[in-house]
């Protein structure tokens, strides 16, 4: 039994008594992961692991009463089964982080020298992947600053403008290579090398231009820089990345180059036999850039602007190759890649570092299966998607560099990642709808709408048979309706439901943007459970065939399935769905596909969220101060930050599906996080009204009013339109507005009130939102209104008269619109603020419980100023 598996098993045994469901689920997942990676499972092992998972799932997912003793028995049986299988020829040698490159070669205890020229041709695949992923040059950061106010441009004063640009790059890499050769005589040769490289570079440009004072304009420019390369091994040993230190002026060049192909492979020296090579790589890089601008006039500062940007990336990858007599028989690999960039405006605060706890929402997208059908390129590959356009075009600039996380796995032969061109959603929506449609070549039989979807026990299901079912078709492109452009089929406009599903799995035919739109909007025409069952059916059907097209299709289907599971909401995750997915996991194990089983189960676990409780979110350890605080005790920026902290936390919990559902059904059960968010909005609004109205003198009320006005300004600056509008709706509400205010107070609202002008479909607000720098919390009301009207205004099905009288073809244009709106939300959800919780302020907010309701605010308002009604 593998060591890892043994540890995982023991751990699960211990955890069982803790009775903590999440812990048990996670440890069972870890066990599955260990077994899938280190054990050559036989039938008995598979059966026993399924038994364990079944019991665990029943206990923790379905909350059935399961005796822990039963799980323990099952675990013991699994342990026994495991002890009878040989472990995979594993490569678990001690991997101590080594600073220096090390060669330790052992042939059955005898030291032997092995050539250090370990570079060999096949490795290019990993390197190629690395170069695509990691070695992007970060472009120079050039933020646009607002113009300094230009006072009279006289010639008398001396104007000095200073621009400073700083750039610092830090790259680190650790490469670990290990080779195990099994010689025909049974001996083993092990080679291990570790190498780390660190590179640092800083550069600084300062431009100072002076003009005025009767002198001609003068411009001076300074440049300084520093480079540092730190390698822990000698030049002649560093052939992995073809370093030519003294010939290349750019020390980063080595990271951007593909490997050199000058090798006598170590395989050449090796004796025929079996060998295995493991290569792992860890690479981090951080590039921080800072730009500032200063303007002085006559020695007096006129203005100052600054912005900074930090790009970081981290790559972890591992590749294992097996050779038989120099021929590559198998290659497997996996890894993760993360990239993030943070743009900040304003001078960075002292001590502000990138490792501050940040909660960036990271989206990762997995695609299994290559787009290419050629058999030699059969691998699982990772891919990200950044297809956001629409509403907030200004986000794109930031977006491209923001958070990306990639997980990839590959096998058999090579890997590469392509960042496909996603097409343009805006263009897609702007096209004239009256343009001609390209009708299907084949018409599918009408499908009766089935009754309530039910769970399917995939483990018990026999082989999938083909029932003239679109789901089992290799390709459905002939069944879809497209828009016709220049005589060719352009984007999908509609089609039978099952064809739209299958098309999403045809990674080679459908654009990634279609897949995204499908994943965001499928709930408008099929339930998640139904969709999962259909995808599983397709996967199983395609897996039965051995031809490469079917195999590719199965993998593509699986990757869509993973995405669906990845984005399930709490409402989706009912007992039926969990039953379908878990039984499919068991089936995958039985079929020997432990990798897929592990991935899918892990994804499902990740979706089981801990229940969210607003009260405990607000809970603070502080006790109420003897003299209760008032808002005047806090700085406006502090109040705005904490409002934003709460808003952002709640906003990030909202799933796009909740918004989509809300626009159609307004069901609080389906959209719980959205309901929390809107309730919070109203709470803030009424709390603010109460704060102002409850002051006893007009002067105090005006002080409070102006205080909130300041808070509002800060909120706007922070692009928090949620609380901004909540406060605005309070200050502009009738119970407050009808009171008599001095001119400063009433004028102070003017600039804000136009933001909520509803004319021209919230033109003012939309314009403001577009120009707001992210992170941002939008006013969700406008999103809901847009979705509601898209739903009300666009038919679900294509009009029969356009499609030869067919009445069951779905109108995908409607989904494109929904996608466009929801995508802007997904895009905004990828950003988050870097705000720390301030217990004092949260305690003061007291969950905004201290509020008058609508009637009470009116009563209080009338108490302050008696009503005078016009007839």
């Amino acid at each position: 039994m593998g060591k890892g598996a043994a540890v995982a098993l023991r751990y699960l045994q211990q955890v069982l008594s803790s009775n903590s469901d999440p812990l048990i689920l996670q440890s069972s997942s870890a066990l599955l992961a260990e077994i899938s990676s280190s054990v050559d499972s036989n039938y008995l092992v598979k059966e026993k692991i399924v038994k364990v998972l079944q019991l665990v799932d029943q206990k923790c997912f379905q909350k059935r009463h399961i005796n822990v003793a039963d799980i323990k028995i099952a675990l013991d049986q699994l342990q026994e089964a495991l002890s009878q299988v040989p472990e995979k020829s594993d490569a678990d040698t001690q991997q101590k982080p080594d600073n220096a490159e090390k060669y330790s070669v052992t042939i059955s205890g005898n030291e032997v020298e092995v050539s250090d020229n370990a570079q060999n041709e096949e490795e290019e695949n990993l390197d190629k992947l690395l170069s695509t992923l990691n070695l992007r040059q970060v472009p120079a950061f050039s933020p646009t600053f607002p113009e300094f106010e230009n006072e009279s441009d006289d010639d008398v004063g001396i104007t000095k403008e200073e621009k400073e640009e700083q750039r610092a790059e830090k790259h680190g890499q650790k490469l670990c290579e290990e080779e195990v050769q099994k010689l025909p005589d049974g001996r083993e040769v092990r080679t291990k090398k570790t190498k780390t490289v660190n590179v640092q570079q800083t550069s600084k440009h300062i431009t100072i231009s002076t003009r005025g004072g009767g002198c001609p304009a003068v411009s001076r420019r300074f440049t300084t820089g520093d480079r540092k390369v730190d390698e822990d091994n000698d030049e002649e040993h560093t052939d992995y990345f073809s370093l030519h230190r003294f010939q290349r002026p750019d020390p980063f060049e080595r990271f951007r180059l593909k490997s050199k192909e000058d090798d006598e492979s170590c395989m050449d020296v090796a004796v025929p036999g079996e060998s295995m090579k493991t290569k792992s790589i860890e690479r981090t890089s951080e590039i921080s850039q800072f730009v500032s601008q200063k303007k002085e006039k006559n020695g007096r500062s006129v203005g100052e602007n600054a912005a900074s940007k930090v790009d970081t990336s981290k790559l972890l990858a591992r590749q294992t190759e097996s050779f038989r007599d120099k021929t590559l028989v198998d290659r497997k690999g996996e890894g993760t890649y993360e990239e993030s960039s943070i743009v900040k405006r304003g001078t960075p605060e002292v001590g502000d570092s990138t490792d501050a706890p940040r909660k960036h929402v990271v989206e990762y997208i997995q695609t299994f299966g290559g787009a290419d059908d050629s058999p030699e390129l059969e691998y699982l590959r990772g891919s990200t998607i950044s297809s956001y356009i629409t509403l907030n075009d200004s986000l794109r600039f930031h977006e491209e560099q923001f958070c990306k996380k990639l997980q990839f796995e590959f096998s058999t032969s090579g890997a590469s990642t392509s960042f496909a061109d996603f097409g343009n959603l805006i263009e897609l929506l702007e096209v004239n709808d009256l343009g001609p449609l390209k009708l299907p070549i084949k018409w599918a039989a009408e499908q009766p709408d089935k009754a309530e979807p039910k769970a399917i026990d995939w483990q018990a299901r026999a082989a999938i048979t083909y029932h003239n079912d679109l789901i089992c078709n290799l390709s459905v492109i002939d069944y879809l309706v497209y828009r016709e452009r220049n005589g060719n089929a352009s984007e999908v406009r509609g089609g039978p439901r099952d064809a739209l599903i299958v098309f999403a799995t045809q990674g080679n035919r459908a654009s990634l943007i279609y897949q995204e739109a499908f994943l965001v909007t499928y709930r408008t025409f099929i339930s998640s459970l139904d969709l999962i069952n259909k995808l599983v059916k397709r996967f199983l059907y395609m897996s039965m065939a051995r031809d490469s097209n079917s195999q590719t299709s199965a993998r593509n289907t699986f990757s869509v399935l993973v995405r669906v599971v990845d984005e399930l909401t709490v409402f989706d995750l009912d007992e039926d769905l969990i039953l379908s997915v878990t039984s499919f996991v068991y089936r995958l194990i039985h079929d020997g596909n432990l990798t897929f089983a592990r991935i899918l189960r892990q994804r499902l676990l990740d979706r089981i969220a801990e229940p969210f409780n607003l009260s405990s979110f607000f809970e603070t350890k502080l006790s109420v101060p003897r003299r209760p605080h008032t808002i005047l005790d806090f700085r406006s920026s502090q109040l705005a930050s904490q409002l934003t902290f709460i808003d952002a936390s709640l906003f990030h919990r909202i799933e796009p599906a909740e918004l989509l559902w809300w626009a159609q059904e307004q069901s609080e059960v389906k959209s719980p996080n959205l309901v929390l968010f809107t309730e919070h909005f109203n709470n803030v609004s009424f709390w603010v009204r109460t704060q102002v109205l409850m002051q006893n003198t007009q002067k105090e009320r005006e002080r409070y009013f102006m205080k909130f006005n300041k808070v509002m300004r800060h909120l706007r600056k922070m692009s928090n339109f949620n609380s901004y509008l909540a406060v605005l709706s309070a200050l502009a509400s009738s119970p407050l507005a009808r009171l008599e205010w001095n001119k400063t107070v009433s004028d102070s609202l003017k600039e804000h009130i136009s933001v909520m002008d509803t004319s021209q479909s919230y033109k003012n607000y939309r314009t403001l939102l577009q120009s707001a720098p992210p992170p941002c919390v939008p006013y969700v009301g406008v999103v809901l209104q847009d979705l509601t009207f898209v739903h009300a205004g666009n038919p679900d099905k294509l009009q029969a008269k356009l499609v030869e009288g067919k009445t069951d073809l779905l109108n995908f244009l409607k989904r494109w619109h929904q996608y466009a709106i929801l995508d802007s939300i997904r895009k905004l959800k990828k950003w988050n603020y870097d705000i720390k919780r301030d217990e004092k302020v949260l305690l003061f907010f007291d969950q905004f419980q201290n509020q008058l309701n609508e009637e009470e605010t009116w009563a209080r308002s009338h108490q302050i100023k008696a009503p005078q009604r016009k007839k």
Partner: protein, 251 residues
């Protein structure tokens, strides 16, 4: 219909009401062909007419020629609980039958030009369907509106109950008793699921002294009539307040 017909006093409010009432019989007669009940009611002398009323398609406000620059513009707010079909009503009104896609994010989506009693005008509809939960925003919307279409669904007693305090809210925010309001019972195509009787709607309208109609956004019954009527109501309220003002100055 006689029991709800306004008295002489009401007829005096609108000099032409009698004439309208005559025309109305003709038009509703035609429409009543596919309904179980005529959907237009006379109340307080305010009659609905389809006569003299035409649709001019979706307005392209910025591109309008000189002829339209003096056109009167009204802000109409559509109010009511979620799920009563407000958005369908608005969509039905603002859209023309030739366009297949409705994109609410475009600037003139909620604008529509209509001609009421021979006078063209532009309606800017404010329908916040989908955002009913943001109750704290309602004040702002009401403040901006000039006319109010209050909608409930005849298939849900709850939605009828929800709007009962709506007039008070509007009056309170506007600070005036004379606010143009129209009460609308939607979804009258689903008469087999009816929960709110027509006379209940009428009674509430009488209490509010405002006109009332039942319509079906789904089948496009009475939709345009509804919006024409709120224009009339706005005209009427405006004229009356002007008159009373001029009366005051004379005195």
């Amino acid at each position: 219909m006689s029991e709800i017909d306004g008295g002489e006093h009401d007829l005096a409010r609108k000099p032409l009401a009698g004439l309208f009432a005559l025309c109305e019989v003709v038009t509703t007669g035609a429409e009543a062909g596919f309904m179980d009940k005529p959907l237009i009611f006379l109340f307080s002398g305010n009659a609905f007419v389809t006569f003299g009323f035409s649709l001019m398609g979706r307005s392209k406000a910025p591109k309008l020629g000189v002829a339209y620059t003096n056109m009167r513009e009204f802000k109409v707010v559509v109010l009511g609980s979620g799920g009563v079909g407000k958005s369908a009503l608005t969509v039905q009104f603002v859209s023309s039958t030739f366009i297949e896609k409705y994109d609410p994010t475009i600037e003139d989506f909620y604008r529509k030009e209509i001609e009421v009693d021979g006078q063209p005008c532009v309606l800017e509809i404010l329908d916040t369907a989908g955002t009913e939960q943001f109750s704290s925003m309602r004040d702002l919307y009401i403040k901006n509106g000039q006319g109010f279409v209050v909608v409930y669904s005849i298939t849900s007693q709850q939605t009828f109950h929800d709007i009962k305090t709506m007039r008070d809210q509007i009056v309170r925010v506007k600070g005036s008793e004379s606010v143009p309001i129209l009460l609308v019972g939607n979804k009258c195509d689903l008469s087999h699921q009816r929960q709110v009787r027509t006379d209940e709607g009428l009674a509430l309208a009488e209490y509010w002294s405002c006109p009332f109609t039942e319509c079906s956004a789904k089948n496009n019954q009475n939709v345009n009539v509804t919006f024409a009527e709120i224009v009339r109501e706005m005209n009427y309220v405006q004229n009356r307040s002007r008159q009373s003002k001029s009366c005051c100055t004379l005195m």
